[in-house]
């Protein structure tokens, strides 16, 4: 008999399993991938003190702790449906059905695609795909690549691709087109990047970051952005050039760049083809939340959290009895926040089930505070107003709870 089923063996799911198993609960984790760790696996970046955050090692530590406590992890399993029953949750997978009184969805996030013409050619991949190839499989994405999309993720993974021995010709924006307004608007991107300027390796970005908080200054920033770009990890990052299309017959051969106006419109006659054999598209992340929708939980659109998010409270309870969420499904944040949220979800389940007694309740309160503290201390914020988004979500939760109590 399983007490808790967890979908996703990433930082949130593994941390939650540890909290539940510590209180004697029988936990089973289901994950589609070949290795446990989720998005932790690809991560490799330097902390401000110079030490490396090696996601593979972090995943191994969590996996080791979980298995030692008797957590059962099944890999290569896809969950395609969940249904509430009188005694809990029924979970339908590619390898049979499971049932448990408690279900935690820790499915993480997915990447927004940016459909630049030519994006279906072999050799074009999401930036996360290149990260997994390079760091997890230890296979080069290619010889010489180009990154389309300027954001926290692309700046971080650019360095990982270089460490893996591939070359990068440039990091540019996609040319402005329908549906990708904000990621193709140099002014908006400049604003977003200014909030992570403290991480930027270039002194220019550091200086610029302090001044480009306002729209007017942002457009000036784009105008004064050096025509040749600035170097990030030695790779030219250019906000005045954008990718118009990806060229190739049967695979990527080059990327056509054009100079753009401050609003991101390509300037005719300025096109040039840059030869590359792979292209990484970086459109940012959104919560991967289909299963919460299938489970019948209400959603709210919270841009500060990266998209449509299942309504939940700070204890990671949803509005469905026995259903919990944690990690990036609740909003896009870094792995350390996801781990802390996972601990909260696990303790919540232990407390609600009675398995944890009063102690789990006390630990839970402390764990909730810990999430806030880790968020505050975090250097990398995918969305600058994430704390505001979290407050909004807490209000949605209370509103819906109140209205349900008033009209049962």
């Amino acid at each position: 008999m399983t007490d808790v089923l967890i979908v996703g063996a990433g930082p949130a799911g593994l941390s939650a399993s540890i909290s539940c198993a510590r209180y004697g609960m029988k936990v089973k984790i289901l994950d589609e991938f070949v290795k446990p760790g989720g998005r932790l696996l690809g991560q490799l970046h330097q902390e401000p003190d110079g030490t490396w955050w090696n996601g593979i090692r972090e995943a191994e530590l969590l996996h080791g702790k979980a298995t030692k406590l008797g957590v059962d992890i099944e890999l290569g399993v896809s969950v395609y449906q969940v249904r509430r029953t009188e005694s809990g949750w029924h979970v339908y997978t590619s390898k049979g059905d499971y049932h448990a009184p408690y279900l935690l969805l820790a499915t993480g996030s997915a990447e927004w695609p940016v459909p630049v013409p030519g994006w279906t050619l072999p050799g074009v991949m999401s930036i996360g795909a290149a990260q997994v190839m390079t760091n997890v499989h230890r296979v080069k994405a290619g010889g010489r690549g180009l990154i389309i999309g300027i954001n926290v993720l692309s700046a971080a993974i650019a360095r990982e691709i270089l460490l893996g021995g591939s070359e990068l010709a440039a990091i540019v924006l996609p040319a402005r087109m329908t549906g990708i307004e904000s990621s193709a608007n140099p002014r908006a991107v400049m604003g977003a990047m200014s909030r992570v300027a403290h991480l930027a390796p270039s002194p220019l970005m550091k200086v610029a970051g302090k001044f480009i908080k306002y729209d007017f200054v942002q457009s000036m920033g784009v105008r004064f952005f050096p025509r040749r770009g600035i170097k990030v990890w030695g790779v030219p990052l250019n906000m005045r050039k954008a990718a118009v299309r990806i060229n190739g017959e049967t695979k990527v051969e080059s990327v056509r760049l054009a100079r753009v106006t401050a609003a991101g419109e390509p300037i005719p006659g300025t096109e040039e083809d840059v030869p590359v054999d792979f292209v990484c598209i970086s459109g940012g992340l959104y919560p991967l939340a289909e299963l919460a929708s299938v489970a019948g939980n209400p959603f709210r659109y919270v841009p500060e959290l990266g998209g449509h998010v299942p309504v939940h409270n700070e204890r990671m309870q949803t509005l469905q009895p026995g259903l919990y969420v944690s990690g990036n499904i609740t909003g896009i944040e870094n792995a350390k926040v996801a781990m802390a949220q996972g601990t909260v979800a696990g303790l919540s389940i232990a407390a609600d089930s009675g398995a944890g007694g009063a102690r789990a309740g006390e630990e839970l309160e402390q764990a909730v505070r810990q999430v806030g503290e880790i968020r505050k201390r975090s250097l990398i914020h995918f969305h600058p107003n994430v704390a505001e988004g979290r407050l909004k979500m807490e209000q949605y939760w209370q509103q819906i709870r109140r209205s349900r109590q008033e009209s049962p």
Binding site: G76, P113, N135
Partner: protein, 112 residues
Amino acid sequence: MGFGRIEHHPVLGPLASRKEIRFTFDGRPFIGYEGETIAAALLASGVRTLRVHEDSGAPRGIYCNIGHCYECRVQVDGQANVRACLTPIREGMDVRSGRVLPKPFAKENGWT
């Protein structure tokens, strides 16, 4: 030309030695290593095109590499629509790229 495994990584260290696995892709023999996915083993050997679009015949490879997009669907030991990015290679595995499918009713439905 830029393909291959990252044997020595400046931070992650040397690649551990693993067991060789033999498999075929469209009948051609390939060698990969235990634990590698079909997509990773093929890319390491320089293969980017995993299938053709069932309608247009346009070549396709991996896109997301973590199972979300289904762009890397291949046929494995007769089973269609298997994600190459999530499926580890096995000894003797028969991987096929698929082909353009017939559209017997396209004309009368005005789809051509």
